[in-house]
Amino acid sequence: MNLKLLEEENVLHAVITGEIDHHNAVVLREKVDRQIAAMRPAGLVIDLSGVTFMDSSGLGFVMGRYRSMAGIGGQVTVKGATGRVETILQMSGAYRYVKLLDE
């Protein structure tokens, strides 16, 4: 798993590549939350286009960041989810809370 954090205007982009499971979701959560607290962005974009595997821990990561951002009045957008990653986000109802960016 690899995480790149990019700031663009007042939006934080979290570009994740590789596998998201319980083992590395813990690391992701800590790094992204630290940046949210420091930057207080209006929006967080989670880019999952490079994610090759994700289980419910990845879903927990997305919903957890929804809560972090809601706490400072910001929004979360998810983009690039494909295959089973997308299936998990769809079936959990996550898109009722986070926006889906279509490109």
């Binding site: 596998e19 499971d21 319980h22 083992h23 979701a25 813990v26 959560r29 595997f53 994700m54 289980d55 419910s56 821990s57 879903l59 927990g60 990561f61 919903m63 957890g64 295959g83 089973r84 299936t87 998990i88 079936m91 959990s92």
Partner: protein
Amino acid sequence: MKTVNFVRMTLPAKSVNEAYARVAAAALASQVDPTIEQMADIKTAVSEAVTNAIVHAYRGQEGGLVYITMRLMEDGSFIVSVRDRGCGIGDVRQAREPCFTTAPSEERSGMGFSIMEAFMDKLQVRSAPGRGTTVTMTKRLGR
């Protein structure tokens, strides 16, 4: 039904082993030429079951073990069972409900069993409080 091949392994209940378990499952399943989707389904379901054993079964306990048995059957199906000797589940039916979780503060969403059920053909959960849990899943492989 005849077992064509099998793997048995015992792993310490450490999160670093989640990836090991799902990769091992995919490696065994790959012997019968599954589709990419079927491989992804197996990896995800095994990851869910093993993660549950690690985060729920041995909560606050040191030295817990996760026992995994995987079989390839004559008819091309893949059967995996994930067993722990942890705290067990009092009400299995409730635990299997979508969105039911006992660990919301740890960013769990209660979707693990629903994912296992959706991605595999069969899911069986046996559990006894104080003794442990066995999750057995079957997936038919091939095109």
